[in-house]
């Protein structure tokens, strides 16, 4: 793994991988949204508004996935002092916050016709709101220090504390109030959602994940370039 710690090697590999990932992301998002909007059936109760699901559910998955990814990157950064892991955590946080916000916004739009209200203090909606706040805290702490290294360390500790607490928060909020439908895809006894809706959902979810990969690679690359620019500026200053 330490072989990939080298920023120059990372940039080389990222440059080679990026076009393929970008094309795959575009293709799966295109196919997924086409299937979701034109091929998949409307719901017999919810009608056409069920199509919000094809954005809502993948973003919710991504918001949770990215927080776990940040926690893993943070653990790697704290244990092995891996500079790219710090950058990965920093690059991922705003994307995760964006997905959490997208989940809340689409959930609210979906809740209006279905539940008759823009916002309901329902367990799963509320835990997504709390996850959004956790992201904001992580981003704020990351940028709160003069010394960027301290920001990385502090945010990494916070991410690990957060990831331990997320199941507790989720459980307590579910206990507190729930109106949401229970999970219907990731279940032990197989998905309860029909295949004509499941496939578009899975393809858009894949598209979201690839899109995240594209963004994170681009953001890490631009961070590396920015660090290099700063180093060059400093070198120029010390030369004069």
């Amino acid at each position: 793994m330490h072989r990939f710690a080298n920023p120059a090697r990372f940039t080389r590999i990222a440059d080679r991988v990026l076009p393929f990932v970008a094309v795959a992301a575009l293709a799966s998002l295109g196919i997924g949204f086409y299937l979701a909007l034109f091929v998949a059936p409307g719901d017999y109760q919810q009608g056409e508004s069920v199509r919000i699901m094809y954005v809502h559910v993948p973003s919710a998955w991504m918001a949770m996935f990215i927080y776990v990814a940040i926690a893993v990157a943070s653990a790697v950064a704290l244990v092995w002092r891996h500079p790219l892991a710090d950058l990965a955590a920093k690059a991922s946080a705003p994307i995760g916050a964006g997905f959490a916000f997208l989940t809340l916004a689409t959930g609210s739009l979906w809740g209006r016709p279905m539940w008759g209200t823009w916002w309901e203090w329902d367990g799963r909606l509320t835990s997504m709101l709390i996850l959004f706040f956790l992201y904001l805290g992580h981003i704020a702490l990351m940028h709160a220090f003069e010394d960027q290294q301290r920001g990385y360390r502090a945010a990494a500790v916070l991410a690990l504390v957060g990831v331990i607490n997320i199941p507790i928060i989720k459980f307590s909020v579910d206990w507190w109030s729930t109106l949401h439908q229970p999970a219907s895809v990731l279940r032990l006894d197989g998905p309860t959602i029909h295949a004509s809706m499941l496939w578009p959902l899975l393809i858009t979810a894949l598209g979201f994940k690839l899109y995240y990969l594209v963004l994170v690679l681009l953001r890490i690359k631009s961070e590396l370039i920015a660090a290099r620019l700063r180093a060059l500026d400093l070198a120029k200053l010390s030369a004069t």
């Binding site: 709160a144 916070l158 690990l160 504390v161 957060g162 607490n165 928060i169 459980f171």
Partner: protein, 221 residues
Amino acid sequence: MSGLVLIVGRDLRLALRQSADAWLAVLFFVLTGALFPFGIGPEPSLLKLIAPGVIWVVALLAVLLSLERLFLADYEDGSLEQLLLSPLPLELAILGKVLAHWLTTGLPLIAAAPLLAVLFNMDMAGLGVLLLAMLLGTPILSLIGAIGAALTLGARRGGVLIPLLVLPLYIPALIFGVGATDAALAGLSARPDLMLLAALLLVMLVITPLAGAAALRQALE
């Protein structure tokens, strides 16, 4: 172990010499609680209904007020570095500081809680459970808060940052604390909520020393 006692004793002495700080938290607690009837109207049945929730939320905010000072004074005068160099494990030192913080903030709040309960016309049958839940819950607030205080040492606008980091993590304690009291008021068993609060306390007793020590070490690096 004697080192732990020394740290608690030192922090308690410091707090007693500036006893205004502890009073301030209690004053804030009662004053903020007393604002609610002005906001929502003096209807006794309504106040009675929201009493446990208001008491918990206000207690949470009062604890938040005192968190920034938890490590800041020691950080600024260098005694935190001495603590790091001392043979006492930093994890244990943090537990000592948290214990002292709870004794000077959490405990006075519990003592003041019956006053708010009376002001809100709460059913006195629930008072015992409310106090028991606060006895289990306020140490959780101090423990989680200590992580936030350690992480923001030396940060720009550290005091504003702490609530943003800590409040989302406070939600389970709030839910179970209010849940226990509400159950007791409704004539149900408060036992499950109290047990969950105790479990949360035990979990945080493990996490806080580890995370807090990691945060302090990187702050003093």
